[in-house]
């Protein structure tokens, strides 16, 4: 190494040491950062404004803190306010959940959600859901197993839950894809909090430490913002079996739990589902709980004589999981075998639920089954002529076959 490179190295090392030890160039390190795990967006009492609540993971403790900013114009402003009010810099890279309050979805949610798409430091892989009440309340809920509420909701909305068809999970990317597509449609699961039995003396770490003044379970706010932690001993469970339908960013309809299951069987990544089927046997009503393994599913759009025909095709294997009747030992032994009338009843039930779901999409304008997208991709010559009227004009066929193990 000649003198030149030695000098270059020395200068570089000196600069590096200076930077390293000064460590003061606008750096915000882990010690100054709060880890936001969920964001809730509610409509504010002030017209045109929003309330934003952030759930913050507190290290070494199972409790969660929530920070609420009321009356913000935008999510960005609220996030900046968190910093100003608490002194901590909120990092959203681990934000896995965005909850929208029930009232917030009556307007175009992308007025708020686009913050997450614009920001370079927020991932659009986070899950999005609508709350039955307010997002702030939902984030205050107590998980029965001591999870952070956001973690508990994330588990309810996990890909495993999606696979069983109970929930229609949607992340921000997919929701944005639908919104920015030609159909401007999408769906989100609806989270409802249900109170469970009170846990006497349990969950010390999550509740009791917070003191009595926050026992209402709501969030405190002072001067438009504040912090609190969930505190009640009552444990809550979450239900996400319903699905909200969106058109042009606004909530326009809601699928029931049965319609959600039917939708999942037909469209999403559900490949294994449980469902109750009611049949009449010997004059009395019997409910069978079927375990269904989806073998094949497709939704096809084609034109027959100039008329768009949309076909749902589902092939599934079913087996009896349970029944609300006292069965003989032979029946129990052959539990995997589903009687033909039960299979037909299952087919009919899902057909009816799918039809019901489709009617809702027709009425609301939400292109839940992405017909316009299929029209563009697979029937491009007819795209221009049928684009606007497709949902109304399409003839729907339901080709659903359930079969039993043999």
């Amino acid at each position: 190494m000649n003198k030149f490179w030695t000098r270059v190295l020395l200068i570089a090392a000196a600069a590096l040491f200076l930077l390293f030890f000064s460590n003061d160039f606008g750096l915000i390190n882990i010690q100054q950062t709060t880890i936001v795990t969920a964001i809730g967006i509610d409509r504010s009492q002030e017209e045109g404004k929003i309330d934003v609540s952030a759930q913050i993971a507190v290290p070494n403790e199972s409790k969660a803190s929530s920070v609420l900013v009321q009356g913000a114009e935008t999510v960005g402003e609220a996030i900046a306010e968190f910093n100003g009010k608490t002194g901590w810099y909120p990092t959203l890279v681990h934000c896995r959940l965005v909850l929208l309050g029930a009232e917030a979805v009556s307007e175009n949610v992308f007025a708020s959600l686009d913050y997450f798409l614009r920001s370079e430091f927020v991932e659009d892989s986070c899950l999005v859901a609508v709350c039955e009440t307010t997002a702030a309340e939902t984030l205050q809920a107590n998980s029965p197993v001591g999870d952070l509420p956001s973690s508990a909701i994330t588990k309810v909305l996990s890909s495993q839950a999606q696979k069983t068809g109970q929930v229609s999970v949607c992340n921000l990317r997919d929701f944005a894809k639908g919104y920015f597509s030609d159909s401007a449609s999408g769906y989100l699961p609806v989270i409802s909090v249900k109170k469970e039995a009170s846990k006497e003396g349990g969950n010390q770490s999550s509740g009791n430490s917070q003191g009595a003044d926050s026992a209402s379970g709501g969030s405190q706010s002072a001067d438009g913002s504040g912090a609190s932690a969930q505190s009640s001993n009552d444990s809550d469970v979450f239900d996400a079996s319903k699905t909200a339908l969106f058109f042009q960013g606004k909530r326009v309809a809601e699928l029931t739990a049965e319609e959600t299951l039917a939708f999942n069987l037909a469209d999403t990544k559900t490949d294994f589902a449980y469902g109750d089927i009611e049949v009449f046997e010997n004059g009395s009503k019997v409910t069978y709980n079927l375990k269904m393994k989806i073998g094949k599913k497709s939704m096809k759009l084609k034109f027959e004589d100039g008329v768009p025909v949309f076909t749902f095709r589902i092939r599934a294997k079913a087996q009896i999981s349970d029944a609300d009747k006292a069965s003989g030992i032979v029946e129990v032994a052959k539990t995997a075998l589903v009687p033909a009338h039960v299979l037909r009843a299952a087919e009919e039930m899902f057909r009816a639920q799918l039809q019901s779901a489709f009617e809702k999409t027709r009425e609301s304008g939400c292109d839940l089954f992405r017909l316009r997208q299929k029209l563009y991709r697979f029937c491009y010559p007819q795209y221009a002529s049928h684009r606007e009227t497709l949902l109304q004009d399409a003839r729907i066929f339901y080709d659903i076959r359930f079969d039993t193990l043999r």
């Binding site: 590096l16 460590n23 882990i30 010690q31 950062t33 290290p59 070494n60 890279v93």
Partner: protein, 548 residues
């Protein structure tokens, strides 16, 4: 190649009385053993310090014999030697021949076998009349390793090497007697290269013994030793060992020239020679390979490398050097290729962990929290919440402590080392965490990094420095700094070479065939050819046709 300081007058004079090139070759190739008489070697050393054999032979013809400096009076000779060697340990053993002629052997105390001197010199001379000439004296002595010194200077240097000079009154000559005896330690397993399977012999501090250890493994006339004396005052024998027909002649010539060009007063260890052989002596990375084991040296020589043995050092140098060879262990060749491949992969992973773990840990905390999984982030974040130090300073401090502990444990007496490790690991670590000075996760990272670095012992020093560099860039520039430093190091490595062999071979430049013995190790039949990177003249090392 240019040799600027090849022929100083006294060296030329030393080479004058010597041999032709052919004889020299024969001598070099001849088998030797650990206790071999070093006189011939010394002559070769003096000889070899001039530029090359042919040149010397030519100069021999041209040089006139000069005065030897000996007197036919014993007292004057002894006095002259004492003038040249006034040190206390230079003793004179005086005795008389049967006819009363005075004789004296001048020797260096402690490195001469006095019993042998008495038995083979004093005894026969005292039983017979004094010889009239040096030749007659040699015949009388029947000493297998005796010869006449060319001049007083040579006699003196032989005395200093442990070979006494015999002076007989009336003879103007000195007879050098090969009774050198140096206290040597046993050939044991080196501490730095312990293997579970495989040979356990290690080099010792005697170059002759080391040459013998090599010769024992390579009984071929192609094994050549070339000795060169280096050090104006230490007169250290440096021996170049190679396999003729396999090692690249250009490399040998360059090594020869570089060693000859060394003009230093003393060479305490082979690492001195290593620094002279390195083309970029300031480089952070090793330029010269090292080994303490003869089996490894032989294996490397069989691949086409050149070995350099240095008197007084148990560490042999090997050239050309490649970075990947430090990831190889001799044991890799004694176990199944699968096991060897796994071990090597582990070493690469461990080195990556040693380098990158502290840096990424700091960068993650300062610049990119996403690098830590959510659960781990909460743990880390909980651990460092109330620490008084920033994550980068915390890690820097811990690495500093690690280096101090390593440095101290290397130098400390063995019986203190255990106490030190207890203090270091338990007291310091545990108390520091409890006192809230550092976090336990940082200690785990540093410990893991420290241990990982020792999977490749030859690179530990380099890794320590580079690890600190990575930490500095991670703490100041951030995650991208780690990538940039990696790019810079790689640019440096890919443009560096060791005697024509790229430092990063066989990865860059990619030599597909040589990859068989790099990150993974193929079976022995797949290694039928010597590594192409050394450009060996004889490429084949295994005849696959004989496979059964």
């Amino acid at each position: 190649m240019h040799c600027s300081r090849g022929g100083r007058p006294r060296l030329i004079a030393a080479g004058v009385f010597l041999f032709s090139a052919d004889i020299l070759q024969t001598i070099f190739a001849a088998p030797t053993n650990g206790a071999a008489f070093p006189i011939l070697a010394h002559e070769r050393q003096f000889f070899a310090q001039t530029c090359n054999v042919e040149k010397i032979n030519n100069s021999q013809k041209e040089t006139k014999p000069r005065s030897s400096g000996f007197s036919d009076r014993l007292a004057r000779n002894v006095q002259k030697v004492k003038e040249l060697l006034p040190a206390e340990d230079i003793l004179v053993y005086s005795f008389c021949a049967k006819d009363g002629t005075e004789c004296a052997a001048v020797y260096a105390d402690g490195i001469t076998d006095k019993e042998l001197l008495g038995q083979l010199t004093a005894k026969p001379l005292s039983l017979a009349p004094a010889p009239k000439s040096a030749e007659e004296a040699e015949k009388l002595l029947l000493f297998p390793e005796s010869r006449q010194a060319e001049d007083m200077q040579e006699a003196v240097s032989e005395i200093l090497s442990g070979n006494p000079a015999l002076f007989i009154d009336g003879i103007a000559a000195a007879i050098v007697l090969g009774t050198k005896k140096v206290a040597l330690r046993a050939v044991t397993e080196p501490q730095t290269a312990i293997t579970v399977k495989g040979p356990r012999e290690g080099f010792i501090e005697d170059v002759k013994t080391n040459m013998g250890l090599v010769r024992r493994r390579l009984k071929t006339p192609d094994l050549r030793f070339e000795s060169i004396v280096v050090g104006r005052r230490s007169k250290t024998v440096v021996c170049i060992a190679y396999l003729h027909g396999i090692a690249d002649e250009k490399v040998i010539e360059e090594i020869r020239c570089r060693i000859r060009a060394i003009d230093i007063d003393g060479v305490p260890d082979s690492s001195y020679i290593g620094q002279f052989l390195a083309k970029k002596p300031y480089s952070l990375f090793k330029q010269v390979g090292t080994t303490e084991k003869p089996d490894i040296l032989c294996a490397k020589m069989l691949e086409g490398r050149v070995g350099i043995l240095c008197d007084g050092s148990p560490i042999a140098l090997t050239l050309p050097y490649m970075l990947s060879e430090d990831f190889q262990s001799s044991q890799d060749y004694f176990v199944s290729p699968y096991r060897a491949s796994v071990s090597r992969a582990l070493r690469w992973i461990a080195v990556a962990a040693a380098l990158f773990l502290p840096a990424f840990y700091v960068a993650a905390q300062l610049f990119k929290l996403q690098l830590l999984p959510f659960g781990l982030l909460l743990t880390v974040s909980g651990g460092i919440r109330d620490l008084p130090l920033s994550p980068s300073l915390e890690m820097f401090l811990l690495l500093l402590i690690l280096e101090i502990l390593i440095e101290a444990s290397v130098r400390m007496p063995k019986y203190v080392a255990l106490a030190l490790s207890v203090i270091g690991a338990l007291v310091l670590g545990d108390t520091a965490v409890k006192a809230g000075l550092v976090s336990s996760s940082a200690i785990i990272i540093v410990a893991l990094s420290g241990i990982s670095a020792y999977t490749v012992p030859d690179l530990t020093g380099t890794l320590s420095v580079v690890r600190i560099a990575y930490l500095l860039v991670a703490g100041s520039i951030g995650t991208y700094g780690i990538i940039l430093l990696t790019a810079l190091i790689l640019y440096y490595l890919v443009t560096s070479d060791s005697y024509g062999t790229p430092l990063l071979a066989p990865f860059s430049p990619l030599i597909r065939r040589d990859l068989r013995d790099s990150v993974f190790k193929a079976d022995i039949y797949a290694l039928s050819e010597r590594p192409a990177v050394f450009r060996p003249r004889n490429k084949r090392r295994l005849k696959v046709e004989n496979r059964t």
